[in-house]
């Protein structure tokens, strides 16, 4: 993906990872490794929920913003349940997150949404690459697909070209 200013570049923005005032918590994850990937997906969902809340004041068309916010909230809750079912402790959200550029108007608000959806894609793609569990693969593909479609919609809104994302969740975009 090559948007102006490199927005939406999943590996570049590092949005979800940039927790403001984050406290490092080490959840007692059982060995068996798709858990770490799911924790990262949860961190990305926390960042998405936070970002949709942040931008709501700047975006005129509220319907897609509240739809995105609701979807990410539902995904966050489902992911927390999934981690508990695996015997892990879901990592809590950070108090705040740093968007790749300050959100101060409609354009930067949409850019923040493109970036955070792209990070969500990267995180769920990571789950897909690390699990043998068919149900978890299905969940990860669904989350990856929904976020890729939403990122595409925001790219269209922002006038970013090309609009489609060739390989969501990968460095190619």
């Amino acid at each position: 993906m090559s948007g102006p200013g490199g927005f939406g570049n999943g590996f570049g923005s590092g949005f979800a990872g940039r927790r403001v005032g984050a406290v490092t918590t080490t959840a007692a994850a059982p060995a068996g490794s798709d858990v770490d990937a799911v924790q990262q997906a949860l961190a990305a969902e926390h960042a998405a929920v936070w970002t949709y809340g942040l931008v709501s004041a700047f975006v005129d068309n509220q319907a897609p913003v509240s739809e995105g916010a609701n979807d990410h909230r539902a995904r966050r809750d489902a992911t927390e349940r999934l981690l508990r079912d695996k015997g892990a402790t879901p990592k809590p959200p950070a108090p705040a997150y740093l968007p790749p550029q300050p959100v101060e108007n409609a354009n930067s608000a949409v850019a923040a949404l493109i970036a955070v959806e792209s990070d969500v894609c990267t995180a769920w793609h990571g789950v897909l690459e690390r699990t043998e569990d068919a149900d978890l693969r299905k969940t990860a593909l669904d989350a990856l697909t929904v976020s890729a479609v939403r990122a595409t919609r925001w790219r269209k809104t922002a006038g970013v070209t090309p609009v489609p994302i060739t390989l969501p969740g990968t460095a190619v975009g």
Partner: protein
């Protein structure tokens, strides 16, 4: 007497040991490996690229060309070619767009490709799930971009 018996026995043993070799050398060369499960996905990607080109949808054409290339690279990596065996004809030029292409047909085809990739996912080894999952999501993104 003993010597002759031993010789006969050795002769029998040699015959028994070499018989399978003779069979092995005279039978047909081993059958080609079964087609890779990713083949239909690669073929669909090439067909979509041709259709998108015919419809002057360059973003879709380049995305599906990229999908086809990634899939073909993985297929080639997984099935090293036996020297001397015929090279499979998978040239993109072999793909022809249907006579009267429509945008609806392209969208339909992308939806089918998305579904096809998603259905394959549970059975794939982990090193292939990232690629195939990303292609499924990429097809959904292409449909959204065309709508």
């Amino acid at each position: 007497m003993i010597g002759r018996t031993a010789l006969t026995r050795r002769g029998l043993l040699v015959a028994a040991a070499t018989a399978p070799l003779v069979v092995a050398c005279t039978t047909q060369p081993p059958a080609p490996p079964p087609p890779d499960v990713l083949e239909p996905l690669a073929a669909a990607a090439r067909a979509d690229a041709a259709l998108a080109t015919a419809l002057q949808a360059p973003d879709t054409a380049s995305a599906r060309t990229e999908h086809a290339a990634r899939l073909q690279a993985e297929i080639d990596r997984a099935t090293p070619r036996v020297p001397g065996s015929p090279v499979p004809s998978t040239a993109p030029s072999a793909v022809l767009a249907p006579p009267s292409p429509t945008r609806d047909a392209l969208v339909q085809s992308l939806r089918t490709a998305q579904k096809q990739a998603g259905e394959l996912l549970p059975s794939l080894p982990t090193y292939r799930t990232g690629l195939v999952g990303s292609i499924a999501a990429g097809c959904a993104s292409l449909v959204e971009a065309l709508s």
